[in-house]
């Protein structure tokens, strides 16, 4: 478990800001990221746009940004 812990720590240290950033101006609220994220990192905001709410769970698996049809997601870590 030590290894995992290390990762966790590192993660927390890095994750001062959101692990992925959504550029709302380009986003069209299609929910692909919301529904495809294996870690359920996103929720929907009042206007119906995705918003990162569980950033700590993000594994940087890249699924969301590989599938965003609008290039509206960038990773702040990669």
């Amino acid at each position: 478990m030590a290894d995992t812990e290390k990762v966790e720590v590192k993660k927390k240290w890095k994750k001062r800001s959101d692990p992925v950033v959504i550029y709302k101006k380009w986003c069209k609220a299609c929910f692909i990221c919301v529904e495809m994220c294996p870690q359920k990192v996103f929720d929907t905001d009042r206007d119906g746009y995705p918003v990162v709410t569980r950033g700590l769970d993000c594994t940087q698996c890249s699924i969301c940004w590989l599938h965003c049809p609008e290039f509206a997601i960038t990773s702040s870590e990669k």
């Binding site: 692909i32 529904e35 590989l66 049809p69 609008e70 290039f71 960038t74």
Partner: protein
Amino acid sequence: MVEQVSNVTHKYLRPKKTFPNVWCPGCGIGIAMGALIRAIDSLNFNKDDVSVVSGIGCTARIPVYLDFNTLHTTHGRAIAFATGVKLANPKLHVIVISGDGDLLAIGGNHFIHAARRNIDITCILVNNYIYGMTGGQYSPTTPFAKNASTAPYGMIEQSFDPSDLAKSSGATYVARGTVYHASQLSRLISQAISHNGFSFVEVISNCHTQYGRLNREGSAVKMIQWQKEYAVPASAAARMTREELEGKFVTGKLHEVFRPEYVSEYQKIIDKFNEEEEENRQLQES
């Protein structure tokens, strides 16, 4: 294989063009475009050496966003224009990107002939089983019995298997991917581009706005997730029976052979004359 992608794509978007793009929210075309960009990036090409050519349709709007030598031609004719581009400047990596109507309906002839000629062009088909841009008419890939705005009582024509057609027309590299399998897709596209000869990649994509609506297939997300269920990797397919494969589609590299490539063969003729000329010159000098 997690790639450094998120910023990579932006490097290739046209600075002068504003986003968001023209596509409906959730349209797979954007995902395919991302895969194409990453494939090109992985090959370390100089942007000036890449040309992306399209016809008309939703898919065909891709080039305008890309910071390459881009050519948005007439409906169905992308490959024929691309043939001229490639022959006139063989150092360009020429990529054609097309919809199923554009490439296979009105453009079918250029497709089979470029494949036959085995000219070094990479052709990517974004197959959403419908004419997206004009509002949901049936295409040569619309499956039997499905609905379209011009097939209100269900499609009664058979459909093409585009990859099979590519192969028997002469394409020397054939692969199929989906927008769901986005990383595999970039790999297939970059293989296709690297292949010397006519290469073809079929990309299964969604048009929920038209095809999805008319056939009650649900949202973009649902349609994309369905791709996972119907896709069978080529390796697995090899071990499956015909019945088991019914209704599924095989993904991955489907075919690769090597045959004389058109541009290189042409160059040989030119070289022969150059050599002769050179010999003559030397003869005269001596």
